[in-house]
Every structure is written in C-alpha cells, then in structure tokens.
Amino acid sequence: MTVSVHGLSPSLAAAVTDAFQAAGDGTGEAAGAAVVGALLPSGPDLLRLEQASWEGAIGVAREAFFSLQQAARSLVEQGGGCLVMLVPAHSLRTSRGCGAAAVVGSFLTTTAQVAAVELGPEGVRVNVLAVGPLEGEVDPRTTESIPLGRLTREADIAAACVMLAGPQAGFLSGTVIAVDGGYAVTKGVGGSPFAAADA
C-alpha cells in the first residue's frame, strides 16, 4: 500500500505516512491512496479580510483541487484506489473568523463529491475528512466546546485516513466524516465559544 500526501504540514504528512506504514498490507487495498489537505486556520471576520488573504485562501483551494486531480489521474491509471480530502470542520459548522476556512472546506468537499461521482466507475473512491480544531494551532479554550474534551490530534487524522483506505471502508465514497471529537455538532454562543469572552 502506497500513500502520497499533498498540502499537509510536515508533521501531519509524517503522521499519515507513518500510520500507513504501520498498517502495512493490512490496509488491504492494492492500488494506493492519496491524501490531500487544505487545513486553513481561522482569521479575521470576512468584512475585515484583506483581498490578499482571500486570494491566498483561494490559492490553497486551487492547489488542493489540482493535487486531487493529479492523484486521481494516477490512481485511474493504476486501476483504482482511495482519495482522501482533508478540510476544516468549519465547512460543517462555521463561526466568526472562520469564513475563509468554511469557504475552502465547502469548496473542496463538493469537489471531492463530484470526483466520487465521476471516478467510482474507475474504481477510485473519494471521501472527505472534516478536521476539527487542531492541537497546537488553536486556543486551548476551544476544548470546552468539544464533547470528547480535547482538540484534534494528527494521529486522529492519520488513523481516519488509514481506515478510509482500508477494506472496512471499501464501500464508502463521496462521504464526509468529521474527525473532530464532536465539535461540529456543538453550539457555542454565536457559533463561537469565545464570542462572549472576546466581546
């Protein structure tokens, strides 16, 4: 089982690659897998977002789109495989300051779903992981709005990627799985756990 990674931070790329190596042939899928990431951090409100920052976010989406396309071409040539798109969970539950992440996450979710529709007959499965706020990247107070009581770790993402590439997920395509400890189904004030504190 080979995995290629695109658009991931060095540490996340290592975590994903290591997890696939540890799973070895246990992942069961002969062809291969690719993981494409576009995990934008939160930023200013959309009204205050500078044009350059918007263009930067669009650039991330663009790179992820064409990375997914390139990986898909390669898997089609190999006769099939598994594609995983990593997007911010703000595509499922937005909040103040998460506009660019919500836009890019939603954009790439639909991209992956259309790819799933088109590439299913080629033996390529395409799924989305909606990744919750990451440990080390967000205010630790975010933990208060996560039912499982901690932030998302790289190991959580890596494990979900391996699962999606494996035989247990062999009939999953076009789906969105939140790897977020339940963040997307919580209801902070105004959608943001800090809305009251920072007001």
Partner: protein
C-alpha cells in the same frame, strides 16, 4: 443586482420582482448593454429609478468603483443581490486551470468582492441591510462534469453562513437561494440539454415537471429582503420544483 442584464436570466427576474415591490435598482452585468438598457427601461416604467453599472465582479477595483457610482447616483444600498455567475462542463480529470480560474474568480471571488464591498458601508453607517447570494442546488447535489461550478456554489454557502453570523449584530441578514433548472443563458451550452430528448429527460428529473421561471426566484428574494424575512439569516432557500428531493 449583479448579473442582472440577460434576458431569461435569474438576475433579471430578481431585479423585476424587487422593482415591482418598490426598489430602485442598480443593474450590473459584465456586458450585454442592450439587454441591460431594456431592463432599465422596464424598471423605470414602473416608476422606479434604475441605471446600468457595467463591471466585472471578479475585478475588485471595478467593484469598488461600481458601488461608489451606485451610491452617488441612487443613494445608499439597502439590498445587495450577488448573482453573477458562469459555468463550464468538464470532467474532473480534464478541468483546465483556465476554466478553474474563470469560474472561481467570477462565482466565488466575485461574490466575496460584491458582498464585502456592499456590507462595509452598511456596517460603518449602522444601517441594516439584506444580502442575498444566488447559489444553486449544486450546494447539496454533486453533478458530474461540473466539479468547479458546484464547488464554487458550495463555497458560497460557507461564505454566506459565516457572514450571517458575523453581520447579524449589525442588523444585516445574509442568505442564499438555490435555483434548480432555469432555461437561462448560462445553461444554453449545457452538453446535456442540446436536444428535445435531453430536455425531456431533464424535465423528468424535476417533480414539478418544468423549469423555474426567473421571477419565481425573484419572489423568493423579495421574501428574504422584506420585513417578512427579518429573522431569516444564514438560510438556504431552494426554489427548484423539488429537483433535489428524494435524490440528495
């Protein structure tokens, strides 16, 4: 009202309905000056003020300049409808960078430009307002051959929902409408709608058995922009004859 000029277009239907309800209308489009002139004349015949403000929504400077002209000519803006859009049909593996950039710059960055440029003065002046974005049934229904178009429309959902949360304290509502099939200019080049048989097959997918009239989208926008819609924000209002029901 961006993307408003084309006959048979959704934007035109929205502009007509808002004018009938008493709105003065700034008609925007990137071209189609003749068709825009016809719409302006129609609106003026209703006793409302209207003028054509051509601009490419993907060009931020042009958008900022357009809003300055609109405000100078018609006064402060209360309602903004971001409707301009373009489409392409390409398999995912064949999407070109040129097509990607064209669709994203108009459909997504164009909407961001328009909504941000319109909302900033509303917030600065403490004036309530209404923002309505034209998205699509693609927001919830992935169509093959239309990955970029569908992705831009899904991106609009993320933008609308976030703006709704961020702008609610300023008294601004932000919603999007989801048109199903409209026999508009944008759909004329759809490869699956070129023959009578193909049109018939598409109609069979729509429980209502017919395409939407642009004015039906217009009436939905009137609802969202009237006091009836004051407590509706971050919402997605599908007007599609049941197209997606039972499918997605």
């Amino acid at each position: 009202m961006t993307g408003a000029a084309r006959e048979r277009g959704i934007g035109r239907g929205i502009a007509q309905c808002l004018a009938e309800e008493g709105c003065d209308v700034a008609v925007n489009d990137v071209g189609a000056a003749d068709e825009a002139a016809g719409l302006v004349a129609e609106i003026q015949a209703l006793g409302r003020r209207a003028a054509f403000f051509p601009a490419d929504v993907s060009d931020r400077e042009a958008v900022d300049g357009m809003f300055e002209s609109v405000e100078a000519e018609l006064g402060p803006i209360d309602i903004v409808c971001s409707n301009a859009g373009v489409a392409d049909w390409q398999g995912f593996l064949d999407v070109t960078e040129e097509s990607f950039d064209r669709l994203v710059s108009v459909n997504l960055t164009g909407a961001f430009n328009v909504c941000q440029a319109a909302a900033r003065p509303m917030v600065a002046a403490g004036r309530p307002g209404k923002i309505v974005v034209t998205s699509s049934v693609h927001v919830q229904m992935p169509f093959g051959e239309m990955s970029v178009y569908g992705a831009t429309k899904a991106g609009l959902k993320g933008m609308v929902e976030t703006m709704a949360v961020e702008l609610a304290p300023s008294g601004i509502t932000v919603n999007h409408i989801g048109p199903g099939w409209v026999r508009s200019f944008i759909n004329d080049s759809s490869p699956s709608l070129q023959t009578d048989e193909e049109v018939e097959a598409t109609l069979k997918l729509i429980p209502a058995g017919r395409p939407a009239d642009p004015r039906e989208l217009g009436r939905a926008v009137v609802y969202l922009c009237s006091s009836d819609g004051d407590y509706v924000t971050g919402e997605y209002l599908r007007v599609d004859g049941g197209f997606v029901v039972g499918k997605y």
